[in-house]
Amino acid sequence: MIQPNGQAPTRAATENQPDITGHFGDYGGRFAPEALMSALDELTRAYESAKADPRFQAELAALLRDYAGRPTPITEIPRFAAEAGGCRVLLKREDLAHTGSHKINNVLGQALLARRMGKSRMIAETGAGQHGVATATACALLGLDCVVYMGEEDTRRQALNVARMRMLGAQVVPVMIGSRTLKDAINEAFRDWVSSVETTHYCIGSVMGPHPFPAMVRDFQRIIGVEARQQVLTLAGRLPDAVIACVGGGSNAIGVFHAFIPDTAVRLIGCEAGGDGVPTGRHAATLVAGSAGVIHGMRTYLLQDDDGQTLPTHSVSAGLDYPGVGPEHSWLHDTGRATYRAVDDEHAMAAFSLLCRTEGIIPAIESAHALAGALVVGRELGPDALLLVNLSGRGDKDVDIAARWFGLVTDNAAGDGAGAGGAVATTSGGAGAAGGAGAAGSAGAGNGSGAGDSR
């Protein structure tokens, strides 16, 4: 990168670290208001110091073990795998971590860091609500004030998580501007932070934002892959042929990928939200269909129009409904070390159903995108393949959306939800998720029991 002072960075980006100014190749960096630059410098210093401090690392490790329930297990899922060309499929069970997803790994790290920096308040953005719940949880644990920004559209599709956050003592602020989803919640959290930076830490929930967030959140999440790599070796006696994860901002994916980056024979495959299908334009498949630009403090791929305006996105999954992606993924995409594909709503919901019915595990709809990817990759690689899928979260929060999608409830029994759509099979699905997509909904419902054969 060009340095305005004419000096080259003293440490170049390697496969494991960004350069000292936070660049992964051309991506990352800091595109942030000057008002935040001192705070970002302070955070970078505090994190570097904490990373090297055995007491900090020991406290975090103890919390991850005794509070969050790590290490999470891996589970082999043969009945599901039968639909994936008969290969072996292993799940990394982040759904079993406290609060129900991988988000707790990052939040515990950042909450300890906030306390270390003397901040009394933590703010966060949330899409599906999983990061918001994790942040509210950590704030309750450490006695920090907590405010969570959430798009108004998302507060309706994830009403249960709003209640969970409030139960944990957090203030949830519905964001009523723009598209009223995750990207607008991030804008609003940045606006809060610019005004409150002296007392407040912004706990970004994914491997995104200005440096040091992408590398720091990655470091807090990489425990997923560190554990999983050892667990797979122990269970199967060899490394997997592919590691598969869903990608919104990309924190669970980077978390499970990172320890495998040096294992060049292991395919790293990210599954983005294909929504109604990439050709329809109603999707959130940033790396598959986007272009490089700047959003939310980082240079990365994003979905934008010819004028550089952010495009509206769509996914049945609120947690993947984001027009950007973490900069390290952009770099892995360009270098080819990881590959990314789109999984549309219909196939994600089919895989969701298949896992429920074959293995007795209800996944988060986000994670179901990775499961759908595994069904395809398994057939591509054949019956001898060994796949590791990161099951990033559990699906309790999605029961209402899924019940509508599959037509399992009547209107009255479905509760408030997204309101507009009916809950019967003919108009379910997309309407319950994001206001549309009736046709895909019907198709998904029809595939309830034979999901693996649907493509």
Binding site: P33, G178, S195, G297, G308
Partner: protein, 273 residues
């Protein structure tokens, strides 16, 4: 020398601060914004900042967000922003573009600089681009003789202020309070200290923005800064107006009030409002 630099020198020769007004392009319409901006200049605004409407304005408060949202909903394009600048420059009004970075990045930094210079624009103010990431823009600005205006903040260390000031041309934008755009009851007491810290790092003019809304505040800020930047208060008047004519009249009144403020005795003796 840019038209902006000339305007600061002219104000300094008059013994007063320059008045800098902000409006987003395309609000209420492209032509409506041009008419309002020309009226502001006629009533005493020395320099116009034209906002490039962007879908994710994370430094802006509700007033500017609303106007920008309406401009985008109305279909404003980057080409309309350049047309707005051209209309102002053609009428002899010094004009800068205030923009978040992605639209320029998408247009291409070199192409944007060339087209902005061609339209008669003086430069860019970049609220989410700091000197660290500005290498390509600084090269293009230098090539096309455009001003690169970066922000200094109350939270900036002296080391950062030095770096920001060294990268600036035209003037330094002192973001005088910690927060997003929008009018405040009082301009931050920290504004004067920030201007003083910037002055130790540069001889460029220093203009204060964020929170200024009336003639009395302009007079006070004008007592220690080279420029007074007013945005949300103008936009608010356009938002509240029942029609274009009333909007133009309202921004004209405010422009005249600010122009009188920076010329008032209070602006010379520095009495805080």
């Amino acid at each position: 020398m840019s038209a902006v630099t000339v305007a600061f020198e002219k104000a300094a020769a008059d013994g007063r601060a320059a008045v800098i007004g902000y409006l987003p392009a395309g609000f209420p319409t492209v032509d409506g914004a041009i008419e309002a901006a020309l009226a502001m200049a006629h009533a005493g605004v020395d320099i116009m900042e034209i906002g490039l409407p962007y879908s994710d304005p994370l430094m802006d408060g509700p007033v500017i967000q609303e106007a920008v949202h309406r401009a985008l909903t109305g279909g404003v394009r980057v080409s309309d922003v350049l047309r707005t600048v051209e209309a102002l420059a053609g009428a002899g009004v010094p004009a800068l573009v205030m923009t978040y970075w992605n639209p320029v990045d998408r247009y291409g930094v070199q192409a944007f600089a060339a087209d902005l210079a061609c339209a008669g624009g003086s430069g860019l103010i970049t609220p989410d681009l700091t000197p660290e990431e500005a290498g390509p823009w600084l090269a293009a600005a230098s090539e096309h003789d455009l001003d690169a205006v970066f922000l200094a903040a109350v939270s900036s260390t002296q080391q950062r202020i030095a770096r920001v000031a060294a990268a600036c041309s035209g003037f330094v934008y002192a973001a005088s309070l910690m927060g997003v755009t929008g009018v405040r009851d009082a301009v931050s007491r920290e504004a004067e200290g920030l201007v003083g810290r910037i002055r130790t790092a540069t001889t460029l003019p220093v203009a204060v923005g964020l929170g200024v809304r009336d003639g009395a505040q302009a007079a006070w800020v004008g007592s220690f800064a080279n420029g007074v930047i007013v945005g949300s208060a103008f936009v608010r008047r356009l938002l509240d107006a029942r029609d274009q004519q009333a909007g133009v009249a309202a921004v004209t009144d405010l422009a005249a009030e600010l122009a009188a403020g920076v010329r008032s005795p209070a602006a010379r003796d520095g009495a805080s409002p």
